[in-house]
Symmetry: C2
C-alpha cells in the first residue's frame, strides 16, 4: 500500500504487452503474484490482492469476463462490467499492473485448443454447468502463460475451481504455485460474489439461508454428527424454509477429491449451489 494519493495501476490490453511487462519484472528479479478476476471487484478479490502483495514483490490483476466459461442461457451478457470502478478500487491497493483484454485478444480467429479439465471438474459445478471448467481451465492456463507469475491466487468461495486449478497446474507442469484464500463474507454472512449485485433486498434476505445451512452443517459436525445424509437433509430443510426450492446441489464431500462422503471426517467440506430468483449462488464450508 502506498501512502498519500492513490495511484492507478497501469492497464495493459494486449497479450504482447502483458507478457513483456511480466517478463521485465521477472528479469529484474521481482516475484510476481497473479490474481485472475472477471472484474466487478469486491472485498473477496481484494483479499486475494492482499495475499499476493504479502507473498510477492509485484501483483498483476487480470480483469476478463471469459465467454468460454459461460453456458448458453447463463449470465454472460448481463455480468457486471465496470472497468473504471474496478480501477478506482485497485488504486487503493498496491497493484502494479492490470491486464484487461478484449475477448478478441484472448480468443483469436480460429482459436480451437482447450484444456480438458481434470477429473475433479466432473461433479457438482461440472454437472450443473457443462463446459464451465473447460472454459475456466483454458483461460487460466492462457493467463498463466501470458503473465507468468510465481503464484496465482484463487478464492475458496469457488472451492471446486480451486481444486481444478491445483490439479491442472500440477498435471500440465505449469511453474506457478496455486494459492487458495479464505472466503470473505459480508456482515450478514453472505459470501462475497460479484453476482450478489443481482439480488433484490428481499432475495438477499432469502439468500442468507445458504450460509445458514452451511453453519448448520458445521454445528452438527462439531456436535459429533458424522452421517452425511442426515446433515444434508438438515441443510436442505434450511434452504426450503427460506423458500429456496431450486437447489442445484447440497453436497458433503472430500475436500481433496470432491468424492461424496457418507461418513464425515476432518477433510470434509459442505457445498451448496442454489438459485435465488434469477441468480445462481454457490458457497461452501470446511467441516473439519
Amino acid at each position: 500500500m502506498s501512502s498519500g494519493a492513490p495511484t492507478r495501476p497501469r492497464v495493459l490490453t494486449t497479450a504482447a504487452e502483458i507478457f513483456h511487462a511480466v517478463e521485465a519484472l521477472r528479469s529484474a528479479g521481482q516475484t510476481v503474484g497473479l490474481v485472475p478476476t472477471m472484474g466487478a471487484l469486491h472485498a473477496g478479490h481484494l483479499s486475494l490482492v492482499e495475499a499476493a502483495g504479502r507473498d510477492c514483490d509485484r501483483t498483476v490483476v487480470t480483469i476478463f469476463v471469459n465467454p468460454t466459461q459461460f453456458g448458453p442461457g447463463e449470465d454472460l451478457a448481463r455480468y457486471p462490467r465496470d472497468l473504471e470502478a474496478d480501477l478506482e478500487v485497485l488504486a487503493q491497493t498496491g497493484v502494479d499492473l492490470v491486464f484487461a483484454p478484449a475477448a478478441e485478444e484472448i480468443y483469436r480467429p480460429g482459436h480451437s485448443t482447450f484444456v480438458l479439465p481434470p477429473d475433479v471438474a466432473q461433479p457438482l459445478e461440472g454437472r450443473c454447468r457443462p463446459g464451465h471448467f473447460q472454459g475456466v481451465a483454458t483461460v487460466v492456463l492462457k493467463l498463466l502463460l501470458l503473465a507468468p507469475a510465481h503464484a496465482a491466487y484463487f478464492g475458496e468461495k469457488d472451492f471446486q475451481q480451486l481444486l481444478v486449478m491445483r490439479r491442472m497446474v500440477a498435471d500440465l507442469n505449469v511453474p506457478t504455485a496455486v494459492r487458495g484464500c479464505p472466503i470473505v463474507r459480508d456482515a450478514d454472512g453472505l459470501a462475497m460474489s460479484s453476482r450478489n449485485a443481482y439480488l433484490t433486498p428481499a432475495e438477499r434476505q432469502r439468500a442468507l439461508a445458504i450460509p445458514r445451512c452451511l453453519e448448520l452443517a458445521a454445528d452438527r459436525y462439531r456436535a459429533g454428527q458424522r452421517d452425511s445424509a442426515a446433515i444434508a437433509a438438515g441443510m436442505r430443510q434450511v434452504l426450503a424454509d427460506a423458500g429456496l426450492d431450486r437447489i442445484d446441489y447440497v453436497a458433503l464431500a472430500d475436500a481433496e477429491t470432491l468424492a461424496e462422503a457418507t461418513q464425515l471426517g476432518p477433510s470434509s467440506v459442505a457445498l451448496v449451489a442454489a438459485h435465488v430468483g434469477a441468480t445462481r449462488l454457490i458457497d461452501n464450508r470446511r467441516l473439519g
Copy 2:
C-alpha cells in the same frame, strides 16, 4: 559441434531437474532450442538438432515414448527404445541436455488434465488414431512448460502434428516459437521414421510406393494437373500396384487448414498413410 572426442550430453530424468537446468540457461542469457522426440533417433531427428543448434545457444533433446498418444492395439509396447544408442548418436552433436523421464514422472498418479487439440487435429490422423493428438498436444505442452525453450523443432514428416503444434502454441499463448524442418529421406526415397526399423527388406521395397505416389502427385501438379480427384486416383494406383492395400488415407489438402482441396493450388499438400505389413507409415509432400 565440438571438435575432438564426442561429449555425451547430460541426461536428466526428473521434472524438477530439467526445469531448473533450462531456467539456469535462460537466466544466464542463453537461448534454448527444444527437440521433442520419442528416441530411436535417426537422421531426421538430427536435422532438428542441427536446426536448433543454428538458431539457439543451447539445445535440449527430450526422449520420451509418450503412452497417451498411442491407441489400444498400436505399437506402444514394441516401439524401439535404446537410450544408450540414442546418447551415442547425440554425443556427435552439440546437444547439451537430454531429458529422458520415466512415464511415471510425466504422468503422476491422478493425472487427468489433457489438451483438447485444435480443429486441425480432426481429419486424417485424427480420424485414424482417435486420441492421438490429444496425447501429443498434452505431452508437448508439458515438455514446453518443463523445458521452457525459445523455439521447439518438429519434422514436416508429421505434417499434421506440426500444424497442431503451431495452433496449440498460438491458442494457449505458449511463449515458444514452433519451427518445422524439411523431411529427411533415405537414399531410396523413404522418409526417415523410427518405425522403418519394423520393415523387412521386402516390406521396405513395397513401402517405396509411398514416396513414389507423392512424387507422382508433384509431377502431375507441375505438369498443370489441378484436379485433386484425378491425382488421388493416380496415387492410389501406385500404392495398389505395389500391393499396399491397407491405405488409411490419400489426401490432397490445404497446407494450413488440412481442408480437402478439390482444385489444387500453391498451398496444397499431398498426404498418405498406409500399412505395410504390420507397420503403419505416413508421408507427405508440398505441391506448390
